[in-house]
Structure formats: C-alpha cells, structure tokens
C-alpha cells in the first residue's frame, strides 16, 4: 500500500503534503523548545538534555512504526528511501556538523524554527549555512573523491551488524530508555537538584517502551518472513495448489482464452528464447512489488505460474496465497513437460504405435502453439515494462 506517492498521491499534490508536513514539523520543534540555541547545546554541557530526549524518542518511535508497517504489509520497505552509506563522508561530514553544532548552537532545521520566531542569531546561522553549502559546492571537484569513497550502498544497520531487524530495534529502544534515566541523573547533578526520586509515570512509560521494543523481535519484515516460510515448505505434499496440465493449458492458449495470463518464473534468457503467449516474466521476490500486484490482482484473469519443473512455481503459488491472490494455477511438470509433450512434439503415428486422441490433439496443438510462441516473441521485442523505483530523498 504505502508509500502513497506517486501512485495514490501525485507528484504535484506531494508538494502540498510537503508544506503540511513541514508545518507540523516546525510546530513540534518549536513547541519542544528547539528554537533557542541555549536549549539545543544543553546536552553537550549537561544542563539540559531536551534534545536527546526529543530526538531519541522520535527516532525510536519512527523506527518501530516503520517496522510495524512493514510487518503488516502496509508499507513496501523496498520502495522507501534509505540513506546510502558512504563511510568516510558520513564520519567526516558528521564531525564537521558536530563542530558547527557546538560553535553555532543550531542545526539546520532548528535554525529555521528559531529564525521564524524572530531569533536574529539563528538568521546569522542560516546565512552561514548558505555560505557553507556554497563552499562545498565550489570545492566539490576536489572533494568528490572523499564524498564518494567507501560506498556501501543502501545498507541497513542490522545487516551491517549481522543482527535481525527486531533484535537491533529492541537494543536501540533499551539504550534509549537507559540514556533517558542516565541523562536525567546527570542533569539533576549539574543543575544541583537533589530530588532524585523517580517519577512513577516515567517508570511505567519506560517499561511499556521496553515491552514494545521487545515485541519488534516478533515483527519481522513481512517479505523476509514469508519468503523464508515458503522456502521451507514442502511443495510436493501441498494439496491445496491448483494444477493445470500442459494439455489443458495448450487448449486454452490455442482457443485464445483471454482470461488466461501466464506468469513465467524462468530465467530471463530462457524466456527470451521461448516466450509463451500472454506471458509476463516475474521473479519470486518481485511478487511483493506494486507492479506485480497490479498484474496478479486482475479479477478476471487466471494466473498460470510456470517454471522449469513446477517446484518454484508451486512455492510462488503458496506465496501468492499468503499475499491474498486466489486465482493461481501451477503448470504441472512446468515448462519442461510442456516442451516435451507439446512444443517439441514427436509424431510416432508413423511407427507401430496406434495414435490415440491425446496424440492427435498434441500433433495439431503443437503446430498452433509454436506459431503463437513465434508471434509472442515478435510482440515482445520493443515492449519493456515500466518499474516502480525506490523513492529518492535525502538532504
């Protein structure tokens, strides 16, 4: 379902959304007290940890929310923007920003909040920002090698650390809660507040947060867990997969059955060499994509899953069932059987064997089907399917 842009919310409307989200963002930052440099740098000197509390709570909430949306299949995590990792620029850039933070007292977002309510020092900071970006832009040719060094791609932290998503989320939540208690203690020391008694509401909230954090372990990414489940299943014993014989499929194909749609799970080069009529290529992991959903959820169509021997197609059919598609059939014996029995039909009527009905049907059908395959190959050339791409974002 999500992200709603660009399919449900168009790119133009997205600018209106941006404005509204910005208003909410600015409002929350200002209400939290992020419009004064004194409060912002407090965490670096121990007298005010508001920034850490707001920032960490927001980050953990966001993280758990995204994990939950992904788990329940409401958000396609493969389409959302994940900041790419370039190790050196991330570290060096981060350090320079940290230095700018303690000298200037703002970060970009908060400086605009402060300027909005009339803080002139924030306006000076913004002028500095513009100069800083300009200096980087001018120095870019010289900086490009550092900027692009050590490119790890769109990796996610739990992959880097070799943990599961849920375990990392739980650890981070716990770290955040521990940090909240620790900084409160430090803050009271620095501000000479001797009342160290914990506030019961915060004790309760901490426990709830840790329980929620723990529960993310049981909210694996829906995609990963379904793929693993299907991979483990023993398809030979599964009775609830509907099958179609090569003869039946051929009959429907030569009758130009418009309700038929073949989903071909073979390798691209094999599909290119023999393209079945009315067929679309797909990979099992692509079944989660929005594009595949458009194809598979057509009400009036029967989806015939084809692979080499039927085993992959059966797994795909199980996955299709999990994803809520109920109009799937699997070609029995796969493409190989279809090829042996019909496409490469061997006429033995000239030999001693007496031809039966099936044999006569196949002899006739083979000719028509091969014509259709040649036609499908011709049509295929030049028609490339459009794909949904990952959202481009970032600063």
């Amino acid at each position: 379902m999500g992200p709603l842009v660009p399919d449900i919310i168009g790119n133009e409307l997205n600018y209106v959304v941006a404005l509204l989200i910005g208003i909410a963002f600015g409002f929350i930052l200002e209400q939290a007290g992020f419009s004064t440099s004194k409060k912002l740098v407090g965490l670096f000197y121990g007298y005010d940890f508001t920034v850490l509390r707001v920032f960490f709570t927001a980050g953990v909430t966001g993280m758990i929310g995204v994990i939950a949306l992904g788990h329940f299949g409401l958000l396609d995590l493969n389409l959302i923007y994940v900041n790419p990792t370039f190790l050196w620029s991330a570290i060096i850039g981060g350090f320079i920003m940290g230095l700018g933070f303690v000298i200037g007292g703002f970060c970009p977002g908060t400086s605009f909040c402060a300027a909005a309510i009339g803080k002139t020092d924030a306006m000076v900071f913004i002028v500095g920002l513009v100069i800083g970006v300009f200096l980087f832009a001018e120095g870019y040719p010289a900086l490009e090698s550092i900027y692009k060094a050590e490119n790890w791609g769109y990796v996610r932290i739990f992959e880097t650390l070799g943990l599961s998503q849920g375990v990392f989320a739980f650890l981070l939540t716990t770290v955040a809660i521990v940090a909240f208690w620790a900084v409160t203690f430090v803050e009271k020391r620095v501000n000479k507040d001797s009342n160290l008694k914990p506030i019961p509401v915060y004790v309760t909230l901490s426990i709830i947060a840790i329980i929620i954090g723990f529960s993310t372990i049981f909210l694996p990414d829906r995609r990963e867990s379904l793929l693993a489940k299907v991979e483990k299943s023993d398809v030979s014993k599964t009775a609830d997969i509907e099958l179609i014989t090569p003869d039946e499929l051929t009959l429907r194909l030569i009758r130009n059955d418009k309700t038929l749609q073949i989903i071909d799970f073979r390798k691209k080069e094999d599909i290119d060499s023999i393209t079945l009529p009315n067929s679309l290529p797909m990979k099992i992991e692509e079944m989660f994509d929005k594009d595949s959903k458009k194809i598979l959820s057509k009400r009036s169509k029967d989806n015939i899953f084809v692979c080499y021997d039927g085993s992959v197609a059966k797994k795909a059919a199980l996955l299709g069932k999990e994803l809520g598609y109920d109009n799937i059939m699997v070609l029995e014996g796969g493409f190989n059987l279809l090829k042996n029995e019909i496409i490469n039909f061997k006429d033995y009527s000239l030999s001693e064997k007496k031809p039966d009905d099936t044999h006569r049907f196949r002899a006739e059908a083979s000719l028509i089907l091969n014509e259709k395959i040649a036609e499908a190959k011709k049509n295929k050339a030049g028609s490339e399917t459009k794909k949904s791409k990952r959202v481009i974002g970032g600063c």
Binding site: P3, I9, Y15, A18, L19, I21, G22, I23, A24, F25, E30, Q31, A32, S35, F44, Y45, R53, V54, F55, T57, A58, G62, L77, Y81, N83, P84, T85, F86, S89, A90, I92, G93, G94, F95, I96, M97, G98, L99, G100, I103, G104, G105, P108, F112, A116, G118, K119, T120, D121, I126, G128, G132, V133, L135, F136, W152, L205, G393, G394, C395
Partner: protein, 171 residues
C-alpha cells in the same frame, strides 16, 4: 528559566516520531532541512552565473536530477512549512520577538562570529555527510540506514568531543 512553557520532551519526541512515520508512509522519504538550503544555493548560482552552473559538476549534477528546476523540490516546500509551523507555535505560546540571543558572558560580536562560523561548518558538513540532523540522523534512524546512524553518531560524538573547547560560548 520558564521551561514549563515548552512541551514535555518525550511527548514532543513521540509526536515527532508519529510525524516521521506518516511522512515515510505517504511519501516514502523522511524529513529534512539542509537539502532545501542546497536547492536555494543551486538556484541562486543558476541565476547569478548560469555558465558556471553548467560547467561545474556539483550544480550540473543537481540540475540534471531536478530537471533544471532546483526550487521545485520536496524539501523546499517542507522547509517553508517549517517556518510557518514554528511561527504559529511561537504565536500561540507567545514567544515571538526579535532577539539576538547569546550568553551574557560573551559579547554579541562573538556570538555573531560563532553563529556564522557554526552555520558555515554545518552547511559544509551536511553536504559532505549527505544530510543533517533531520535528513540523515533522524530519518536515517527511523529506516535503520547504516549511513544515517553513523552520521548521527559522528554529529553528536563530534559535538561532545569539541564541546569543551567552546564552553565559554555557552556556560
């Protein structure tokens, strides 16, 4: 200190987290700020020195990505919203006033130089680090991006590391 006027930080953080979830759910991307500054810089250079913008790689790459319209950028609209939202918040909480804020122990010229220098460093660093506290650190954490989390640790780690040397500016 009249801190009671501000929202409870955990509540503010929770609301900000919800906003982040909504943003990612709707748009597929997180929040940001420094990217809008970049758009403004590129747009200014495009207008002031078009030939330079065509020849220099940074502007050329950016203009290609944005089909020559750098200001038609999601983050620019979002940042305009930030200013409006913060203004509304200031109005409601009676915090609107022109004020050059600095520690009583330093002169306003010192604060001026520090704010300017801090801005320059942050602007420069945000470009090198591909995002600032909002775009890289906060949004990166929500989507568990390795790069975002490294940048976040570097920003806060760096700030703690350097804080001692600039303590006179604040305390």
């Amino acid at each position: 200190m009249n801190e009671t006027k501000y929202m409870n930080p955990y509540l503010a953080g929770f609301l900000l987290g919800l906003l982040l979830i909504i943003t990612i759910f709707i748009t597929g991307r997180g929040l940001g700020a420094s990217g809008a500054v970049k758009s403004v810089v590129v747009a200014s250079v495009n207008t002031a020195a078009p030939s330079h913008a065509n020849n220099q790689k940074f502007y050329a790459e950016y203009n290609t990505e944005h089909q020559g319209e750098p200001l038609k950028n999601w983050l620019v609209f979002e940042l305009v919203g930030v200013v409006i939202g913060a203004f509304i918040s200031g109005l409601i909480s009676d915090r609107l006033s022109l004020k050059f804020e600095h520690s009583p122990k330093i002169r306003s010229t010192t604060r001026f130089v520090a704010a300017m220098l801090g801005g320059i460093l942050f602007g420069f660093g945000s470009q090198l680090g591909r995002g600032c506290t909002s775009g890289a650190a906060l949004s990166g954490m929500a989507v568990l991006s390795t790069g975002g989390i490294i940048t976040m640790m570097a920003i806060f780690g760096g700030a703690y590391l350097f804080a001692y040397f600039f303590r006179k500016l604040w305390i």
